[in-house]
Point group: C2
Chain length 430, copies 2
Amino acid sequence: MKIYQESLTKMKQVVKNYTQQTSDFTIEQQVREIIENVRKRQDQALKEYELKFDQTAIENFAVPATEIQQALQKISPELRQALEHAKKNIVSFHEKELTSGFIDTAVPGIIRGQKVTPLQRVGIYVPGGTAAYPSTILMSALPAKIAGVDQVIMVTPPQKKGIAPAVLAAAAIAGVDAVYQVGGAQAIAALAYGTESIPAVNKIVGPGNIYVATAKKQVFGQVAIDMVAGPSEIGILADDTADAAELAADLLSQAEHDRRARPMLITDSLTLAQKVSQQVDQQLVNLPRRAIAQAAVEDRGFIAVMESVPEMFTLMNEVAPEHLEIQLADPSQYLSYIRNAGSVFLGRYASEPLGDYLAGPNHVLPTGGTAKFSSPLGVYDFVKKTSFIQFSKTALQADLSDITELARTEGLEAHARAVEQRFAAERKGK
Amino acid sequence: MKIYQESLTKMKQVVKNYTQQTSDFTIEQQVREIIENVRKRQDQALKEYELKFDQTAIENFAVPATEIQQALQKISPELRQALEHAKKNIVSFHEKELTSGFIDTAVPGIIRGQKVTPLQRVGIYVPGGTAAYPSTILMSALPAKIAGVDQVIMVTPPQKKGIAPAVLAAAAIAGVDAVYQVGGAQAIAALAYGTESIPAVNKIVGPGNIYVATAKKQVFGQVAIDMVAGPSEIGILADDTADAAELAADLLSQAEHDRRARPMLITDSLTLAQKVSQQVDQQLVNLPRRAIAQAAVEDRGFIAVMESVPEMFTLMNEVAPEHLEIQLADPSQYLSYIRNAGSVFLGRYASEPLGDYLAGPNHVLPTGGTAKFSSPLGVYDFVKKTSFIQFSKTALQADLSDITELARTEGLEAHARAVEQRFAAERKGK
């Protein structure tokens, strides 16, 4: 891995160059066309696109409920146990994210409050082939279910041998209400606008390729979407108390996801930096996804050697990584230093894949620096708030002059008159 | 106003036609060009656009801090008092939206939690001219301040006579940290990417014209944005206990905003429907913004007469209005019937403009049906969450086999090895 020994200012620039995104205009055009076509021609358009892009003739998009339930018998008992264990931990963590509204009756005659309501229907996109991760189905569907969403539906591209039993089993365990075999931008269009077979949803979540991501961005506003996900990232902050082989293994765990994944180590120890770099090379040798991991390490990875722990945090907060490991002595004391990160792994035994699969916090996380303003996927993504007020006549009268002052300042006469109308009878002497 | 007496099914279709949005491809292209230009040429590009679009040569984008403070002296004492009163109520309401993280230590050896962190810098867009509403500045900036955002900056188009004192005074009262005179898509580009004069922000909020809205949509992902705002809406549910003149005044208060505003009344009384329609015509006559309000009423407004109160709510939940007035006898009993609405006004004295200006709940609200999945602007828009975990060696060991089972099922060998690496010494007999 490339090792930098530069000033904080210089490193901030290096990191910035890493995070710059580009958009692809040709893809945007293609996706726009697909969405318009699905909006107009619905199922017919979906069928044509599935034939074209997935070489599959689809009669019925809906996967029969019996097939979904049968998948639970097709997977190994070990996998089923692992999925159920993951579910248990995801549920117990996410239940703590539930919020209720509030009511404020502090002022006589005035009731003010906020009501929390689950979304009605939510769609989950699950990529096809080797990128179809059962764990992500649990991470996406369970928070929606905990939020109280009426109907959680899933779309996933058709597969030559049928949708993988592990995918359908995860859907069953997560309580997904319906599964449709359709993928790509056309699936996103169907979820946003609805077709004869597939109902329109209020929010679309889940990762996908560039076509899926572009489509999600384009339907944003018609429906809600989660953040447009980029390649996986791991940022490790370590001092020389850390084990180089363990750090290398954790860096590679994210590197194997994608050639564009970003494994990053920031340390105050040049010795550690060099050891980790050697370990990465060594562990790469017999990794099944070696080509992918090596490309990520070489093209996108880096090790930065900084002068102090505060500098290390300043740089890492600039990166705002999806996953952040704190492999420093006494790690939990640094929680307050963390400004921008999706999920934090404190100490030696919080290896990143533990969070991917089993610990319970969500693994759908902000990438590409978006942890500066985004949160992990959570129960809060599947509810929305509505405020409400009730005023007595006396309470409204007390506020009358300030309301009309503001309304007339803004040139909105009808606003002022609407409130005055409540006292029209009195003014006329009635 | 047009009065419908149709079945629920038919009315759902009518309402659907009302909400369909279209996007303008030409504007998208223009905006894309502006954003790219500002990204590359920064202040220079901003100056050229301000000359072109606002006919203003700008030397310094930043409005001097003294000018902002002096504005407080230039506005009338009545206006200042009204703004301070509004601030007080906005603050007391929004403080209830503050949330803290949590920590879960239920399982020995396992710490799981969530940390809440304010965004670092936020940008507020304030439209120019007659659409520059001081009240919106309070509604946008105060929740960010309460959330703990370090720096809240504001952009607004330059004005021939200088920026209105009411606008600058509102910025001062809300505690806005800096004001820049730049507008349109170029201002959004500057906030998203930063220029020599204007720092990049993490989130952009605030209403604007179609160029601003399109630009916000295009920079989404680079920064966070609030919902893309559409024309104002008011939906009123009323029975014949309601006062027709008051309902008409409330409908007109939203109609005067925009020719594309949507005043809507759903009732079970044809008599009331007819009276309200007459009142609307009558009150329109001497309204200063009559042309705008009349266009909204005629082109976009409707009255629907339904058979029952539950039918009225079903239809209104389909509309998902920005503002919802419940003008029914005993209004608060219906809170549970409301599924989709931005802000709810219960009873006769909760006239909608009370909420626009003074009650305290936010007036930046989801429009165009987006209340089905979006919330009012709030403190929660200016914070983000980070999860964290810490595991003991024993706790990780207990989960080891389930983690590796899931990792290998997903074909992610390096994930499995990263966790196993923690126990490598034992396995080698060390």
